[in-house]
Symmetry: C2
Subunit: 340 residues, 2 copies
């Protein structure tokens, strides 16, 4: 039986295996520290389309197709897709994945959506509802700036606390069976986040808004699984950026846990802030998805890391909520990844 742990966690009896994955990143990401690790770097920000939204849809479709191709599968082998993006009404996902013609659960968890999709995907596998599912998220600098901030043509200045939305997508194929050959990674547990709201109202400082949510989910994970930070080789957040990271480490220290020697943040990792002018770091659903595919899974498959807690973090705002003076609540969904 699957074990329900504490208030927010599950330890899966039947783990799901990540048997395939792919990531495609944009040009700027392709100039960063992980330039040699992405499956593909697309230098055309429009991905051959006519709008930023269509570009992101095309990015999703290409990433999904590449994950299938690398795994030797066709879309018919996938029972469910769990996917989402940052745009209003999830249109990158709807228009991107419709041609795959698979049962689709559309998700919205802002930049935490990767954690949400892997959580629900692994529940579908571990619950015996599917043999194989695909979990996919994306973000696109152009579509996100247009949706959340200013038109690119406006050329506004950005405060140093701002993050840079990653143009990228990652797709992950989960299976009830291990891959036929080679090392694998299993999802052995999840810790599902609740919304936390510390009253942050600065949409240009999303790291500060999301850090309490990441703290809460990591704390609950350690408690629910009766683990210490040392039981994970790495604890990896989604896109807190440099300011959020500081806050997270401090908040967890206040609760008695020191993760400073094993914390990584995908947003800090994906760009070189010194040379790429990305301020606090990268963000977006595509950030943690690209880093999971390009780097984290590889380290786990190689056995460099044995167990990782991945915690994609989301800032639950819209331009409407922000312009109406609402705060920016955060949410974070934790996924336990182990080398198999």
């Amino acid at each position: 039986m699957n074990q329900i742990l504490g208030e927010q966690s599950i330890a899966f009896e039947q783990s799901s295996y990540i048997i395939g994955d792919a990531c495609i990143a944009g040009e700027k990401e392709g100039q960063g520290p992980y330039k040699n690790e992405f499956d593909k770097i697309e230098t055309d920000p429009y991905f051959g389309q006519d709008s930023w939204e269509e570009a992101e849809s095309q990015l999703q479709l290409q990433t999904a197709a590449l994950a299938l191709e690398k795994t030797g599968l066709t879309s018919r082998d996938i029972r469910y897709i769990f996917a989402g993006d940052l745009l209003g009404q999830n249109i990158a996902t709807s228009f991107g994945l419709m041609d795959l013609n698979r049962p689709l659960f559309g998700l919205y968890g802002a930049c935490s959506t990767l954690g949400e999709s892997l959580s629900l995907g692994s529940m579908a596998i571990s619950g015996g509802f599917a043999d194989k599912v695909m979990c996919l998220t994306s973000s696109h600098f152009g579509s996100a700036e247009k949706q959340f901030r200013f038109p690119l043509e406006y050329g506004n200045q950005r405060p140093l606390s701002a993050t840079w939305t990653v143009t990228g997508s990652g797709a992950f194929i989960l299976s009830s069976e291990p891959p036929r050959a080679g090392a694998s990674v299993r999802i052995t547990g999840i810790t599902t986040g609740a919304i936390t709201d510390y009253g942050i109202t600065d949409s240009m400082n999303m790291g500060a808004a999301m850090a309490p949510a990441a703290c809460d989910t990591i704390f609950k994970n350690l408690q629910d699984f009766s683990r210490m930070p040392e039981d994970y080789d790495k604890i990896i957040t989604g896109d807190l950026g440099s300011i959020g990271q500081e806050i997270l480490i401090k908040l967890l220290r206040d609760k008695g846990y020191d993760i400073s020697d094993r914390h990584l943040d995908c947003g800090i990792e994906i760009f070189d802030a010194d040379t790429q002018d990305t301020h606090a770091g990268g963000s977006g659903c595509g950030c943690s998805a690209c880093m999971l595919s390009a780097h984290i899974l590889k380290q786990l498959r190689a056995g460099v890391w044995k167990r990782v807690l991945l915690v994609p973090t989301g800032a639950l705002l819209s331009t409407v909520s922000f312009n109406e003076g609402q705060s920016v609540p955060g949410i974070a969904h934790g996924v336990v990844l182990e080398s198999a």
Copy 2:
């Protein structure tokens, strides 16, 4: 074991029980044919708040609280919430449910979100991941018109094919155990929809855009479960409206199934089009949610109906996709409800 049926369906071995529910509707809904069936009718369209979005959040919170109260539970008894709304970045849900402080899976399936939430909620129960979950959706006429169409102050005319967004919310508590007393309703199966796109580009005719999706999901359900329409007392769609209903019945006839004598559409039911000037009918995530709580569950509990196929339908558009000339794809998620 749960049975995986065909390409898109699951028959649950361990059904989940809908042990509690509540619905709150707006004033116009409260003047319609089901005025005596809603738990509460709120005549203040702002629900005591300052904006349409906050009004919808308040509507969600009140509905969730009422469902808990009616069931004799507190939010701590709920392991997961599966919820969504129509607004960009799901803000009605994020700001509405954060005070419940429960692990939250944010969903987006446009008006099909009720089907999506009941599907994932019943998977969580049937998979042994939770004892009790809450599934909740909402829509609000004011927030939806502002998001998708025109400011209310503009007073635009509406074509007869347009639907009227329901101000309403329904919350459903699913449990692995039947209720302590009284008749109950079980979720015995699901059929998860894929996106269908017939190239409809008229956002004022969403019934036509969604009918093919409803047809596809109903067809797959009948095939996957080896059932005929007669095996259901009712086949109930979400918000096709009168034009979509005609198309659905015709499309299914072309595939060899006649559902005309047992089809209901929540959008047609919830208003009296002749006297309420609602044109093609009601729509929105709150439409099917209110009708499920106010009417469908009651008929099932009373044994008037034994088995119902509920198919909430969604039109996957945003103002951005629509204004960029994209089509309006549809999706529909089917849920099999049986009196227990």
